[in-house]
């Protein structure tokens, strides 16, 4: 009897297709799980930071969670990070619009020095945007 059942089982495996519907469901589930895991890794919140551009080229990215004073490369400008906010605190431009802008902190906020081609854009967090005059 046992021998008969084993023989039937072997015949079942021999006749069954190499990939069944169940196999494909397992494959899809694994891929879905992998995708979710990868997305959560890639899209994870890296915190608020500011990209600093000089004449269109990014020259530095600074975190806003650490107080510090930075010299902007290839310029005479300085930026300061304090209490999660960032500002241009020194510059040799003529109109000082960048310094007058003061400290900004929300993602999407920007500070511009048109004469010297300096742009500071706050990024990260929830990717918010600010419409205003620049």
């Amino acid at each position: 009897m046992k021998l008969f059942r084993e023989k039937n089982l072997i015949e079942h495996y021999r006749r069954s297709p190499l990939f069944g519907i169940g196999d494909f469901i397992v494959v899809l589930a694994v891929i879905f799980a992998c995708t979710l895991a990868a997305k959560s890794l890639v899209g994870s919140d890296t915190g608020i930071y500011a990209d600093v551009y000089v004449k269109g080229e990014i020259v530095m990215s600074v975190p806003l969670n650490t107080d510090a004073l930075y010299a902007v490369p290839d310029t005479r400008a300085s930026i300061e990070v304090a209490d999660g906010k960032i500002a241009v605190v020194d510059n040799d431009c003529t109109n000082k619009i960048c310094i007058k802008t003061g400290f900004v902190s929300r993602s999407g906020a920007a500070i511009v020095c048109a004469p010297n081609g300096i742009t500071v854009i706050v990024r990260g967090g929830d990717s918010e945007y600010v419409t205003g005059v620049h």
Binding site: F19, C34, A38, G56, F103, V112, Y129, T131
Partner: protein
């Protein structure tokens, strides 16, 4: 029987190996594809401000940078670009311009006419007189210009001082001293063109003037503080803001800003509660940009409502005491009393 059992195990192993290979292959393909579609960001300085473009798909960074460099040169009121050459030319001399500049000027002249001159791209002589040009603005002044000088300068500060020839792509100045300024529309115009370059999908921020496709959280800058006065989640829209809080100086305690009205004085100069910031939403960033300047001049009035409706836009006009709404703005004001 032993042979059959062994064959069955072999088939099982083959199946498992094939499954593993399939999973690895598909995961690899998915990872590669997602890398190709990752969001790209390109940013820089142009048109007296910054730009930042986020998009996915084919890399067009170089196209974006080249376009912004082109308009930065050709839309500038001073220098060797198209508008700079027009401004430097003597009367009666046709100045050949590029197709992009001509398209901008056609739109500029149309909106100027529709707004009854509230949006005035020919106000550059006044801009210089009030010390707001790129080369003479220092953010300070001891006095305002004489009334006589303002009246004299007003005579040449009109789009009627120029003629456009679409066939020849030329602009001819009719009086000496007349000069154009695309500052109130250039960023919006550039935002629309960049939005086309990225295939109409992404986020274009041209110095606070936006074209966006997917839903994004957006705030309106507080014109009198570092926080925000309104917020919205917007998609498939253009947003532009003008205000008196970036290019200004004080004379005898009065704020003098760069948006000049048809009377030759800063918009709202004689008003007790002037408009200090205007945000316009609509389908075209260029139109929103120009209208936000025009509404700074007209304030809340039947004319401003008519102009906004004509271009199928919506607007929020902020004063120091509250705000006016024209149309159904997507923004929810979080600070200030509604005045209409």
């Amino acid at each position: 029987m032993l042979y059959r059992r062994s064959a069955s195990r072999t088939r099982k192993r083959i199946k498992l190996t094939a499954l593993a290979l399939a999973i690895i292959s598909v995961a690899f393909i998915a990872a590669t594809l997602s890398g190709c579609n990752a969001t790209k960001t390109v940013a820089g300085t142009a048109l007296g401000s910054y730009y930042s473009v986020e998009y996915s798909g084919k890399n067009v960074d170089d196209q974006i940078k080249a376009f912004m460099a082109d308009v930065d040169l050709n839309f500038a009121a001073e220098g060797t670009g198209d508008i700079g050459k027009i401004n430097a030319a003597p009367k009666g001399e046709p100045v050949k311009v590029g197709e992009t500049t001509f398209a901008l000027l056609e739109l500029v002249f149309e909106i100027s006419e529709k707004s009854g001159g509230a949006f005035n791209p020919a106000a550059f002589p006044l801009t210089e007189l009030w010390h707001f040009s790129p080369s003479n603005y220092i953010g300070a002044a001891k006095s305002i210009p004489d009334a006589e000088d303002i009246a004299e300068t007003l005579k040449i500060s009109s789009v009627a001082m120029f003629s456009l020839d679409k066939t020849a792509l030329t602009v001819t100045k009719l009086v000496d001293g007349a000069a154009l300024d695309a500052g109130a529309i250039g960023k919006g115009f550039a935002a629309d063109r960049i939005f086309e370059i990225i295939g109409g999908s992404g986020i274009v921020d041209a110095g606070g003037t936006f074209r966006v496709s997917e839903p994004v959280k957006m705030y309106i800058q507080n014109p009198r503080g570092s926080d925000y006065v309104a917020e919205a989640t917007v998609s498939n829209i253009a947003v532009a803001t003008s205000g008196d809080y970036q290019r200004y100086y004080f004379v005898d305690g009065k704020r003098i800003h760069h948006i000049l009205a048809p009377d030759g004085y800063p918009a709202g100069y004689f008003s007790e509660d002037p408009v200090v910031s205007v945000t316009v939403t609509g389908g075209s960033a260029a139109v929103c940009d120009a209208l936000s300047t025009a509404l700074m001049v007209t304030g809340y009035s039947p004319e401003s409502a008519e102009l906004t409706a004509y271009y199928e836009c919506q607007a929020l006009l902020f004063t120091e005491t509250g705000y006016y709404e024209i149309g159904d703005s997507p923004f929810e004001v979080v600070s200030g009393e509604k005045l209409n």
